[in-house]
């Protein structure tokens, strides 16, 4: 049932949990609001214990209470699963939190298909599209545990609302990469012919690995890491894209509305050129598989991304399986 796991290092959600406990000890204005997630079971908040509140299985109330607490002067970190935040409780997020521009940090675990075999009711393949549509909400997808800690620290002082998408299982670290700066696209690799833009742990690692594979073909491929979807750093994107003939986005999200759409919007307005989106096809994923297996099936993998680039450039896929036909089927369903 589960595929080969690269499970090393802490999960992003545990890294967040531990960082939040440290921050709450230092900052008496921070709150942790839970909804029976279990993430904080057994955690000793020490002197901050009164600032941990669990509302139970009640996501709409979770968001409304968070808004009320924030309006009352507190800074709540709010915990639920990504799909519950983005769809089940969306109206409360939209009207009570976003409309009032309150400093609520929604930390949403089980983003993308990290819930794997648990099925579509627990997948969040729409959350980035939904959350970035709300004016004033910062939307960020940390790439590993270390980045998560940094993002959470930066969010503690952000004046407005934020949505942070985390995973479920241990996340391999993305080595040699500086800590993220909220709101800034992060160049990972220089390259002028093709530029890959990725967000999320597995897609970003796939993009980095794909660039290596393609370099072996003699292609000059750059990689941008777009952890913050909103506000989006169009300046860095446009500067990095330069004269590249092709931009390819890579994400753990439906093709509609996520990173691919963000980049499409920016390029169309500012630097039009050919774009290809590598993402989960726009349908519900109800076949059993781990996160890695599901993403592999949707070509969100090193060979999948490399194959897509070759197909778009019309190159022979002699370095690996050809995905040209299936890619074209994805593009033109």
């Amino acid at each position: 049932m589960t595929g080969p796991s690269e499970a090393t290092g802490p999960s992003t959600r545990h890294a967040y949990r531990d960082e939040l406990v440290r921050l709450m000890a230092a900052d008496p204005g921070l709150l942790c609001l839970d909804s029976d997630t279990g993430l904080f079971s057994g955690i000793d908040f020490g002197d901050a214990a009164a600032r941990y509140l669990d509302v139970g299985i009640a996501e709409h109330t979770l968001m409304g209470v968070a808004a009320g607490l924030a309006a009352g002067g507190w800074t709540p970190f709010v915990n639920t699963m990504a799909t519950f935040a983005a769809t089940r409780a969306l109206e409360a997020v939209k009207i009570d939190i976003a409309y009032n521009a309150l400093p609520v940090r929604i930390v949403a675990t089980h983003g993308g298909v990290s819930a794997g075999h648990l099925g579509p009711t627990h997948h969040a393949l729409e959350d980035l599209a939904v959350m970035r549509a709300l004016p004033g909400v910062t939307v960020v997808v940390p790439v590993d545990a270390r980045s998560t800690e940094s993002v959470i620290r930066q969010l503690a002082s952000l004046p407005g609302p934020a949505y942070v998408r985390l995973g479920r299982k241990p996340t391999p670290p993305l080595d040699g990469v500086p800590l993220p700066v909220l709101g800034r696209v992060q160049p990972l690799r220089a390259g002028r012919q093709v530029v890959l833009v990725a967000c999320g742990p597995l897609p970003t690692r796939a993009a980095v690995a794909a660039a290596e594979l393609l370099a072996g073909d003699g292609l000059d491929v750059g990689v941008l890491h777009a952890h913050t979807l909103a506000p989006f750093d169009t300046a860095t994107l446009v500067g990095a894209v330069g004269d590249a003939e092709l931009v390819v986005t890579v994400e753990e999200h439906w093709r509609t509305g996520g990173l691919g759409s963000v980049v499409a919007e920016a390029l169309c307005e500012l630097a039009p050129r050919r774009l290809a989106r590598v993402a989960v096809a726009d349908r519900f994923v109800d076949t059993v598989g781990s996160q890695e297996q599901i993403l592999e099936r949707h070509h969100v993998s090193p060979t999948g991304v490399a194959g897509r680039v070759r197909a778009e450039l019309g190159l022979a896929a002699d370095r690996g399986p050809s995905h040209a036909a299936s890619h074209r089927k994805e593009i033109h369903p």
């Binding site: 009164a50 009640a58 709409h60 109330t61 409304g64 808004a67 924030a70 009352g72 002067g73």
Partner: protein, 275 residues
């Protein structure tokens, strides 16, 4: 009975009728049904000060049934939060008086309008006060139709679980909603039991009896560690005999003739003259 609250209620009813005669019209019935509740709250119960709207020790009021905005605006105007003259601009381009309350209006704590949000918001504010060691109460006015939204009961359950006794809910039980009686969707006679079963302390009063309202609202919370709910029996369109208790009172854009008739009816009502 507080003379001040009675006079306040009269003036608010007149404003409601006047505003419903402006170009956009308004939610006439549901605004009139809660005027006495608002008058007692703002006239005698809530610790609020228009000159210190951000006073951390204040009581907070949330109009969860946000479509009664006109009644709230009129009450806030009479209490000095905004100029009375501003009411005539309701719904007109450039006015800050939107059809459902927004924060831009002085005295409005949080925007409402989509039913079913106010109780969770109020709970959050009550918990914020408790964490701060502040003593202010949070009063949330809900509609009885609004209670068809499950989010209300979800918030009520959480509030009781957290012993939020600074939270006071008031239900404007006028037994009507936009398309007819609420009884078609939920039996009104079960309302008190539903709240009790959710862990709340419950009182039922005549929602147009100022003395009774003052007694229960002034005395809340009645049980330590338990949030309180006042189920106020009201009449939709109260004060205007030709619409009182009628479904079509829900929304009205009064013509000049209807406006004049309504003002005369209010004069009679306030003078105790029965039609």
């Amino acid at each position: 009975m507080s003379v001040e609250a009675r006079a306040l209620a009269q003036r608010v009813r007149e404003h409601v009728v006047d505003v419903c005669a402006t170009v956009e019209g308004g939610h006439l019935g549901g605004s009139l049904s809660c005027v006495d509740i608002l008058a007692v709250l703002y006239g005698a119960v809530l610790r609020v000060d228009p000159d210190r709207p951000d006073d951390p020790g204040r009581d907070v009021f949330l109009l969860s049934k946000g479509h009664a905005a006109i009644a709230l605006y009129a009450t806030l105007a009479e209490r000095g939060f905004l100029p009375r003259g501003e009411l005539a601009g309701y719904g007109v381009l450039g006015s800050r008086l939107t059809g459902h309350p927004v924060r831009a209006v002085p005295g409005v704590e949080l925007p409402t309008g989509s039913l079913g949000h106010g109780l969770a918001l109020g709970l959050g504010l009550a918990l914020a006060a408790r964490l701060d060691g502040r003593s202010g109460r949070v009063v949330v006015l809900l509609g009885d139709g609004e209670l068809q939204e499950g989010s209300c009961w979800e918030a009520a359950t959480v509030a009781a679980a957290h012993g939020a006794d600074r939270l006071v809910a008031v239900v404007d039980r006028n037994d009507l909603q936009q398309t007819g009686p609420t009884a078609r969707h939920a039996p009104p006679e079960l309302l008190a039991d539903r709240w009790r079963a959710s862990g709340w302390a419950v009182r039922e009063v005549d929602g147009h009896d100022h003395a009774a309202l003052l007694d229960v609202l002034g005395g809340a919370p009645w049980e330590p560690g338990r949030p309180s709910v006042v189920i106020a029996r009201t009449v939709k369109g109260h004060g205007l005999p030709f619409v009182a208790g009628r479904t079509h009172s829900h929304y009205a854009t009064l013509s000049p003739r209807q406006h004049a008739k309504a003002r005369r009816a209010l004069d009679d009502f306030h003078a105790g003259r029965r039609p």
